[in-house]
Symmetry: C2
Subunit: 304 residues, 2 copies
């Protein structure tokens, strides 16, 4: 990326993140009730920062397709809620047992395990409450059925054939010999499914034709896998100070990663290939896809 | 209930349960994949039996309103999935730490905590995938928007202002002095919200008028609270052998119940009042409501 492009990309990215963060801040109720701890716990994790890559992808695809960002924002935020719930549950002692996330104590370290489990459950449930509420009572009624199709796709991507299935494989594969096919399939579910939902949900809502949908699908496949390979590279190469979470933890836990399987150099080469493939997939959208192409570079070059 | 009525009621109840159980048996996929453990864990809990009161309520309300049971069945099953997920998470060591449920080892005792958390997450997510899938691709398109309204209502009833909010209060109230208002509000959320969703979802789908909706709402309020009071009475009076789970555990945990707060006799009197109120609420539906009235008696007279 040229440095002038880089500035333009950063500005646009930050603009999207601002819209997303303002919305996320609004949508968790602030109630002075005996159960207010649950709202605090939800908000603690949903506002803990993070790159917001998934909802940024949704807004960027919407803009590329000349859609109205307001129409897609509730779905983008719901996807971020689902992502956040999955992190809260993933960090639990019974799962990855992590004390830190994004440089801050994990949810259960602050609120205890019981509330952390319930805060995750509540974010997951609220994602569906929020999407159906907005579709029924807030957004224009245009594309009503398409919006329900998007909700269904998001649910499917988050469930046993997507995100949760990937988590299960992650547990099952610990200390086992894992082939590159198994590792790729696991990541297609664990990280890829929700990234794909973020990319395709706006396209489903806006009724994109099959040909272009296939191109976006290919883009999502490539960046989804690239995102995980980059994560594995960072886990192997980076430090706690930069990541805001423990580095090297996958290897320590006996988890197969793209780095343990291929070595650093080959993992980096695979990352390059995927980024190039993701960019080629967007040719059909011409210069309208510039931001999404730069986002692929961003995934490759991020340092945390 | 006269004994001839009792036989007719039991037959009808069992007929509903058969429809529900057959559907629940079908809907969890059976896949021979590396992540198949999640399907087994979901099925273990969803097919562990139970009274199926929530989905039976949905089918019964549907029938009373001359609706087609097929149209309501996916929502009834989704509500049972949500109920089952909440039990799996509630039984976890970090929550109520129960080893037995419905006379069988709890989910985490069989599959471990990590899979139990994920099986709960998967059932919750699948409930929404299943409802949207059926609404979009299986059921007739009649009342399409009403069905989405029902999904939204079910989500809201399951979230922080319903089921999960109630669970949080349950945790927060442990070893605290709890007033009868607090206890009633907690149960309105914890048990009442999903029971109400089961009663009202078919009415929302079928577009019931406001007046009759209010009557059903009152019925749901009364039986929801009655259900919990009966639970508390059973917890105080019954035994493990009958309940299939530990008796007396609420008191041992320092939890306020209607029995600890009012004493057994007053709790039983309150239960009687609520059952009578629930039956009065259904007058507008005349003899069409006979099954739902008998269901109120069933809630009062159940021994587990």
């Amino acid at each position: 990326m040229r440095s002038s492009d880089k500035v333009a990309f950063d500005n646009k990215y930050n603009e999207f993140v601002k819209i997303i963060n303002e919305e996320l801040k609004e949508i968790i109720p602030k109630k002075e009730t005996s159960e207010k701890i649950i709202y605090e716990a939800m908000e603690y994790s949903i506002l803990a920062g993070g790159k917001r890559i998934r909802p940024v992808l949704s807004l960027a695809v919407c803009e590329m397709l000349n859609g109205d960002i307001k129409d897609v924002l509730p779905f983008a935020c719901a996807i971020e809620m689902i992502h956040t719930y999955s992190l809260i549950h993933d960090d639990l002692p019974a799962m990855d047992n992590d004390d830190l996330r994004r440089g801050k104590p994990t949810n259960h370290k602050v609120y205890g395990e019981a509330i952390a489990i319930l805060a995750g459950d509540a974010l997951l449930t609220y994602a569906f409450e929020f999407m159906t509420y907005n579709t029924l009572y807030v957004l224009c009624k245009e594309n009503f059925e398409s919006k329900i199709k998007a909700i269904h796709f998001i649910a499917k991507s988050s469930g046993f054939s997507g995100l949760i299935g990937g988590q299960v494989m992650d547990l099952e594969f610990e200390n086992k010999t894992v082939s590159s096919e198994m590792l790729e399939y696991m990541n297609k579910c664990k990280t890829g499914a929700l990234i794909k939902a973020a990319v395709l949900a706006p396209a489903i809502i806006l009724g994109l034709d099959k040909n272009k949908m296939d191109c976006l699908d290919a883009y999502a496949n490539s960046i989804g896998l690239a995102f995980q390979i980059k994560d594995d590279i960072l886990d192997a190469e980076s430090s706690f100070e930069v990541l805001g979470k423990k580095a090297g933890k996958d290897v320590n836990k006996g988890k197969a990663t793209f780095v343990t399987l291929y070595g650093l150099n080959e993992a980096k080469a695979k990352l390059d290939t995927l980024i190039n493939e993701s960019i080629s997939s967007l040719e059909i959208f011409a210069e309208k896809a510039d931001f999404l192409k730069n986002l692929a570079f961003f995934i490759k070059e991020r340092i945390k």
